[in-house]
């Protein structure tokens, strides 16, 4: 069976400076890989290159066996890669209520309008946000906002979930609750997860593997589970 992610000599440059790579990485389907490293080590750039928001300078990105970028050419646009991303800080749309946020994504994903309500309900149930449909992001707590961001990332039925510091602004109690939710979601939806964080302790219990990143390269890797 093909792998979920394959990176071959991937590099990303900006302003003449190499931000990432050359990197090689293989992630199996259903695997939860944790990438840890200090701020500025290239973790977010790695996620952005995988989902197509950052244009690679060279190398290849393959997702589920399909070549999605080859050198600087984006062969598949970000929305067509089957990737959901939980952005650092949530990046929620401040003017859209919880329901409108999810319906906006569902409409783009081609979900028939008649199914929006049902699907929104399912997503909110999945992240335990039932009853929050008409709330604006500014009225949500940190944990609720992150769960909405997770629901948004899951709305288009992604096969691969990219998590960019998902627990950053949360206290320890909320972290534990969101991690439990993530584990549940990953299991039920059989998702592959690539999770980046600066905190080596974060999500250690969930990860199958931990990779350490520094200055745009993997400097160490550790198999955690059998």
């Amino acid at each position: 069976m093909t792998r979920a992610i394959e990176l071959e000599s991937l590099t990303v440059r900006a302003g003449g400076r190499e931000l990432l790579g050359p990197l090689d990485l293989a992630v199996e389907r259903g695997e939860h890989v944790l990438v840890v490293g200090p701020s500025g080590s290239g973790k977010t750039t790695l996620l952005r290159a995988i989902c197509g928001l950052a244009r690679p300078h060279s190398g290849r990105v393959l997702l589920f066996g399909e070549r999605v970028s080859d050198g600087p050419r984006l062969l598949v646009p970000p929305a067509g890669r089957g990737v959901g991303m939980l952005f650092q800080g949530g990046a929620l749309w401040p003017h859209m209520s919880v329901r409108r946020t999810l319906e906006f994504v569902l409409a783009r994903a081609g979900t028939p309008r008649a199914e929006h309500r049902r699907r929104t309900g399912e997503l909110l149930e999945l992240v335990h946000l039932e009853g929050f449909e008409d709330r604006l992001p500014s009225t949500l707590s940190g944990g609720e906002a992150q769960r909405l961001a997770l629901a948004r990332a899951l709305a288009p039925h992604p096969r691969l979930l990219l998590l960019d510091e998902p627990l950053g602004p949360l206290d320890s109690e909320l972290r534990a609750s969101l991690l439990a939710r993530l584990a549940e979601v990953q299991r039920s939806l059989e998702l592959t997860v690539l999770h980046v964080t600066h905190d080596p302790g974060e999500a250690n219990s969930l990860a199958d593997r931990t990779l350490v990143m520094a200055e745009g390269a993997f400097v160490a890797g550790e198999e955690r589970k059998a």
């Binding site: 929305a79 990046a91 948004r152």
Partner: protein, 513 residues
């Protein structure tokens, strides 16, 4: 970014904003530069620059403390005085000139400098207020802990001066472009002719533009030299809001200075808006013949009946121009901010306001006044006025919107892109709602500037039908209750959109970003 949308908007920008400038530049011959160093030309430029610098200095003296007091202190009525501080900028400067020369003996350069400084001080106040608001509470508290209010102000001064300087640069630009004030002041006292009214006179005399353009070149370069740093300062201010960890500072306690501060701000408002408006109301109600409420009411109602067509013409053309500017500003402002080379193109964006307004008007005449049926139809109709307004003022909503886009987290758009939203959808559904106060602020600014526009429109025949043009003519040929009533009606309609937003809008208008 939606490439077809950006290309279409850029093509409109090139035609309406840049082509009039290009047409004028093409008319300049080598011989036209011969008079550039002549004593008379240098005198003219010197006077114009003195006018701009003087007005900017007045604007700073009034606007800097005003902006600080209304934005950051516990001065009584600060919340009310802040929006009221914009009113002087909404008044056509010509109205300030006719009232100030009526109530005082000040004439010549001093009168022009004072009137244009009083008119543009809100720009400095606005930028200063915004700069003070962007200082994080923790930074201020750290300074307060070590040395009280004095230390806090010393720490904050370098952070807010760039904002105030940006406002001062804009005040300079508005002052050197103004035609009506020096023209009127010269008509009631010693002549103080500046570049704009000299071009007006020579164009009416010989219709030759090449020399006028060549003569304007130093002024254009000087304006650009002031505008470009102002843009950079504006951008730095906009980026200061990106920090997500920002904590709003608490109002600084003025102690015993609270009431003197209120007196200062009140006095500034009285001098720059209250006195001119009161004088107009007094003249409209009978003036020296004896003021009465009935006389005032009758003058307003007669004038409204008589000038209804002109008022409607101005309202429609200004509103249409402002409404067309909003989507153009959204598309181009977004492209300017998000594209890699956008910032380099800002110099093109500001070109229409760097060129003296009167030359921009002549450029429009040269561009559209041709023996081609559809162009003649445009030139003779209301469309010409709308094009002129868009060409002259699109830069403001464009810069306001691009500043607002700069403070909008790009991840919001990326999340929508990842969800499959097309560029146009992202622009309409994610970016536009995020920058809505700036779009409405841009709309209001274009509407206000268009309603009071004389400087570029004075030579364009189609603009003869605007109400401000009508007022300009009537002011020069008669001063009676009807003229004062007309001025008051114009002010009322200029202030109306901002007033409605203040009453019903839930968020503050963003006229800077």
């Amino acid at each position: 970014m939606s490439r077809p949308l950006v290309i279409a908007a850029a093509a409109i920008f090139a035609l309406v904003c840049l082509a009039p400038v290009a047409v004028m530049a093409a008319r300049v011959g080598v011989g036209d530069f011969e008079g550039l160093l002549a004593g008379r030309t240098l005198d003219l430029l010197g006077r114009t620059v003195r006018l701009g610098l003087g007005a900017a200095a007045v604007a700073v003296v009034l606007g800097f403390p005003y902006g600080f007091l209304v934005a950051r202190t516990d001065m009584p009525l600060a919340g009310v005085l802040r929006p009221l501080g914009l009113v002087p900028f909404l008044l056509p400067p010509l109205f300030l000139a006719i009232t100030w020369t009526a109530v005082s003996d000040v004439r010549g350069a001093t009168a022009s400098v004072w009137v244009l400084g009083a008119n543009t001080f809100p720009l400095v106040a606005l930028f200063t207020a915004r700069a003070f608001e962007r200082i994080d509470a923790r930074r201020e508290e750290a300074a307060l802990l070590v040395g009280g209010l004095g230390a806090a102000l010393r720490m904050e001064l370098p952070l807010v001066l760039p904002g105030a300087a940006c406002g001062a640069c804009l005040a300079f630009v508005f002052a050197v472009n103004d035609f009506a004030v020096p023209d009127y002041v010269s008509s009631v006292g010693p002549k103080f002719n500046v570049y704009a009214d000299e071009v007006f006179a020579s164009w009416q005399g010989d219709g030759e533009a090449g020399r006028a353009v060549a003569t304007a070149l130093p002024l254009v370069l000087l304006t650009l030299a002031l505008l470009l740093p102002a843009l950079a300062l504006r951008r730095r201010g906009a980026l200061a809001t990106v920090d997500g960890d920002f904590r709003t500072p608490a109002p600084l306690a003025l102690g015993r200075l609270r009431w003197p501060a209120l007196v200062f701000c009140g006095l500034v408002l009285v001098l720059c808006a209250g006195l001119p408006l009161t004088r107009l109301a007094w003249e409209a109600g009978g003036g020296t013949r004896g003021w009465s409420v009935d006389g005032f009411r009758s003058a307003l109602s007669r004038t409204l009946d008589l000038e209804r067509t002109f008022l409607a013409n101005s309202l429609v053309t200004s509103a249409v121009a402002a409404s067309l500017c909003a989507p153009l500003a959204l598309v181009l402002g977004h492209a300017l901010e998000r594209s890699r080379r956008g910032r380099r193109l800002e110099v093109l964006a500001v070109l229409p306001i760097a060129v003296p307004a009167i030359l921009f008007g002549i450029g429009n005449i040269a561009l559209w006044n041709r023996d081609v049926a559809f162009m003649a139809a445009i030139y003779d109709g209301r469309a010409m006025i709308v094009l002129l307004f868009i060409g002259r003022f699109l830069v403001f909503p464009l810069l306001i919107t691009s500043g607002a886009v700069a403070s909008l987290d790009p991840r919001l758009e990326e999340a929508a892109e990842l969800a499959g939203a097309r560029p146009a959808t992202r622009l309409a559904r994610i970016v536009a709602p995020g920058v809505r106060p700036s779009l409405v602020g841009g709309w209001t600014l274009v509407f206000v500037l268009a309603m009071r526009e004389l400087d570029a429109a004075i030579l364009v025949p189609a603009a003869n039908g605007t109400v401000i043009f009508k007022a300009f003519n009537r002011i020069h040929f008669a001063r009676d209750d009807a003229v004062a009533a007309l001025c008051l009606l114009i002010v009322f309609f200029i202030v109306l959109p901002g007033l409605l937003w203040s009453l019903f809008g839930r968020r503050r208008l963003e006229v800077i970003a």
